[in-house]
């Protein structure tokens, strides 16, 4: 017990003073948490403070933010050629969250054009984005990062009771998501849970894997992209499976927008009580966000600084305004290819007041509403991709995942194309109208393959198996 206390102090001191964390100490804390669960059946008092970090107090958080930002920019100016140029002439020691706006944001195109100029330490693993929303970008990660992040994530999940011994995670991510898959496997190892890396194989096979018992356990946790999870819902329903057939307690989705109706369908079909809609990007790891029951996105303030920049002015967005999510991961959590004020392109709405949800202690914005380049400015007002997705997802006759495209016509009216052989244009238009969206709808009665070509999603990064492959 004293040893655990010493370890906690060591890790906390490193966090407060911005020193590199001792990965073994964090891993041992995960083991300590598991032993605590084994002995007591639950964790002790004040576990929330340990899970959410010691900076729930706004004043303390501001002080931490300023020191962490100064530390991060000093290191970037020293080691990163890109930021050495960008930060020239800026008083780095006097930098605060308020004056941070003087530094131009970093965009994905910067990473694509000058990747080597972002490197600050010895790279170990390269992971490449899929390019589903544009040109792919290669991100390099250090050995330290690849060891630290799973330890921090495992600690957080074990402390929150979201993962532990007895759990089995089925990972339905594309095998090209090297960092994410490796991280999940390592998280399971540290949390004493088992895992099965299934990949994005034909969804019917993934559903069968969910039913398979190994050592008396079926998968209890499922992780994947919403579009692929949607395909699994369709496959499971087609085969007549219901919640009693599965052993899932949680499904974690991410990488795409998860609609309310798909989340409900996942619960109803697979029987999982918790369906998590998480935010995370390889460029920003380990900064991540969770979505609460009120559908706010709560981004961890301990590992990075989050801004919402107004869509027109580029300045911090006022309450209730739309803006682009811009994140700065702090050193020492991000060290190999760190970014400063990274504009994610994801649009959110700032909250008009303090959140009143179960995660109120963690700062929040609205859930992701879409990419800034895909907002639709119609004559009737702004329509976000989220608005369209929430309206159409779950429409009878529209199987998951929803395949669609929207654009504003010359007449200023929204035009939505939907792939479906069953739904009528009138039905789809009615669904949109119910949510206050006036749109002209075209239904394309095409096969799945054609629909996938017309409207690609992450689930289309399909991996063939000898079991099903026609190759």
């Amino acid at each position: 017990m004293l040893e655990t206390g010493v370890r906690q102090v060591r890790v906390a001191m490193a966090m407060v003073f911005g020193r590199r964390l001792n990965v073994r100490a964090v891993e041992r804390l995960v083991a300590d948490a598991l032993l605590t669960l084994e002995e007591f059946g639950s964790l002790g008092d004040d576990v929330d403070e340990l899970a959410d970090g010691p900076f729930a107090d706004p004043d303390e958080r501001r002080d931490l933010q300023n020191r962490a930002l100064q530390r991060t920019v000093r290191r970037l100016a020293k080691h990163s050629p890109f930021y050495r140029e960008r930060l020239a002439g800026i008083d780095l020691d006097g930098l605060t969250a308020e004056t941070l706006t003087r530094i131009p944001v970093t965009r994905k195109v910067d990473l694509i054009e000058r990747p080597a100029d972002f490197l600050c330490s010895t790279p170990y693993l390269a992971t490449q984005t899929t390019g589903t929303t544009g040109r792919p970008v290669q991100i390099w990660l250090s050995r330290y990062e690849m060891e630290l992040w799973p330890a921090l994530i495992a600690l957080s999940l074990v402390l929150r009771g979201d993962l532990g011994p007895g759990d089995r995670m089925q990972i339905n991510l594309s095998s090209r998501a090297t960092a994410a898959v490796q991280e999940d496997v390592e998280v399971c190892r540290l949390a004493n849970a088992s895992c099965h890396v299934v990949g994005q194989i034909p969804p019917e096979e993934s559903v069968e894997h969910l039913l398979t018992e190994v050592g008396g356990t079926r998968p209890t946790i499922l992780t994947g992209n919403p579009s692929y999870l949607g395909q699994m819902v369709t496959a499971a329903r087609r085969r007549g499976y219901g919640p009693d057939d599965f052993g899932l307690r949680a499904i974690y989705a991410g990488g795409e927008m998860l609609s309310r109706s798909l989340a409900d369908a996942l619960r109803e079909t697979f029987g999982a009580k918790a369906v998590g809609d998480a935010f995370g990007m390889t460029e920003l790891l380990p900064v991540g966000g969770r979505t609460c029951s009120k559908r706010h996105l709560h981004i961890d303030p301990n590992m990075g600084y989050t801004e919402v920049l107004d869509l027109t002015s580029g300045e911090p967005a006022g309450p209730g305004r739309l803006g682009e999510l811009t994140v700065t991961p702090y050193f020492p959590y991000r060290e190999c290819m760190p970014v400063l004020r990274y504009n994610t392109g994801d649009v959110v709405r700032t909250l008009d007041g303090e959140p009143d949800c179960e995660l109120a202690a963690v700062p929040a914005v609205s859930h992701i509403l879409g990419k800034s380049g895909t907002l639709h400015r119609t004559v009737e007002g702004l329509v976000t991709p989220r608005d369209i997705l929430e309206a159409l997802d779950g429409t009878p006759g529209l199987p998951w995942p929803l395949r669609h495209r929207a654009e504003v016509g010359d007449d200023g009216r929204l035009h939505v194309e939907v792939a479906s052989k069953e739904v009528t244009e009138a039905e789809a238009a009615e669904r949109l109208r119910d949510r206050g969206i006036d749109a002209r709808v075209t239904v394309l009665p095409v096969d799945d393959e054609v629909a996938a070509r017309l409207f690609p999603l992450r689930c289309d990064l399909l991996e063939h198996t000898f079991t099903r492959s026609h190759a």
Partner: protein, 308 residues
């Protein structure tokens, strides 16, 4: 007369502290840190404290030692009884009253008078009861206690017979209040005193045995404490006095109790694995409950997949 007096007082104290610790264990749950279970490393640290504390005490000037002890007592009582008396002001007022009563009795009646020893013993017993529970409810296992007591046996023998540290400490607190011991003295002739460390050993063993093996563990613990914690040391004291014609001033009780407790653990272990705190049914008071935890899932994996 002396032998019966000493037997009665020693048994009453040894069993009293065990019963008190078990009653506390059944009735109260102490607050615990979010993460952490008592383990073998803690035993090493505890032994370190046990080794270092007497030297620290002995380096203090005579008059400072009781002040330090009084502060340690007060701190121990405050931590240990916070789950029972949540109101801080009331708790500290009662602690101040207890600590003051020891001093008052010492000043009014003297060091060898029963009122001082009764007051001092009450404070010591209360501290031992709460300290025992902080450890046991922190996940301490009978296995940990058995090995700790075995180490304490060697310590006790060494510092009683080879390096007379225990005697020096006993002499150092003579004439001052807040002796780290419980007992009863009636004048210069009748006296029976049990060290605080010995009482802690008895309470720890009995309570962990109860936690680990229920009633069977409790019976074993009580029997071992009575025979080897109380009867054997007192009997030895008088046998040595009769044989050598010289009564020793102290008997290292752990020399008897430590090995017996270790064998007791080995005996109990045959009954199966120790119960965990999670297996112990509790229907009493829970100290300082924390707020309800948010249950929203923290997604991983898919969220970290590279975005396009």
């Amino acid at each position: 007369m002396t032998v019966f007096f000493q037997l009665a007082v020693t048994i009453a104290l040894a069993l009293g502290v065990c019963v008190g610790a078990i009653a506390y264990f059944r009735a109260v749950r102490t607050p615990r840190p979010p993460v952490g279970v008592f383990n073998g490393s803690d035993i090493f640290m505890m032994m370190g404290f046990v080794l270092a504390l007497p030297y620290i005490y002995l380096t203090l000037p005579g008059a400072v030692l009781p002040v330090v002890l009084a502060l340690v007592f007060a701190g121990g009582l405050s931590v240990g009884y916070q789950p029972l008396i949540g109101n801080g002001r009331l708790r500290w007022a009662l602690i101040a009253l207890l600590i003051a009563s020891v001093l008052a009795c010492h000043l009014a009646f003297g060091e060898t008078a029963p009122p001082y020893w009764i007051a001092n013993s009450a404070v010591v017993l209360l501290i031992v009861v709460s300290a025992t529970n902080l450890n046991v409810q922190g996940g301490m296992r009978l296995k940990n206690v058995a090995w700790f007591l075995l180490a304490l046996t060697a310590y006790d023998a060494f510092f009683a017979w080879v390096v007379p540290l225990t005697q020096e400490l006993s002499d150092a607190v003579q004439g001052y209040p807040y002796a780290p011991a419980a007992g009863l003295r009636i004048g210069e002739d009748l006296g029976a005193v049990v060290g605080m460390g010995d009482l802690l050993a008895y309470a720890l063993f009995t309570t962990t045995a109860y936690k680990a093996y229920g009633t069977r563990g409790l019976r074993t613990g009580i029997a071992l404490v009575t025979l080897f914690g109380a009867v054997a040391p007192v009997a030895t004291l008088h046998i040595v006095a009769a044989v050598t014609d010289h009564a020793p001033t102290l008997i290292p009780a752990q020399v008897f109790f430590g090995p017996a407790a270790f064998l007791g653990y080995r005996f109990l272990r045959r009954g199966g694995p120790e119960r965990r705190m999670a297996d112990v049914v509790f229907r009493g008071t829970r100290g300082a409950p924390g707020p309800a935890r948010p249950q929203a899932p923290a997604g991983r994996g898919a969220a970290a997949e590279p975005v396009g």
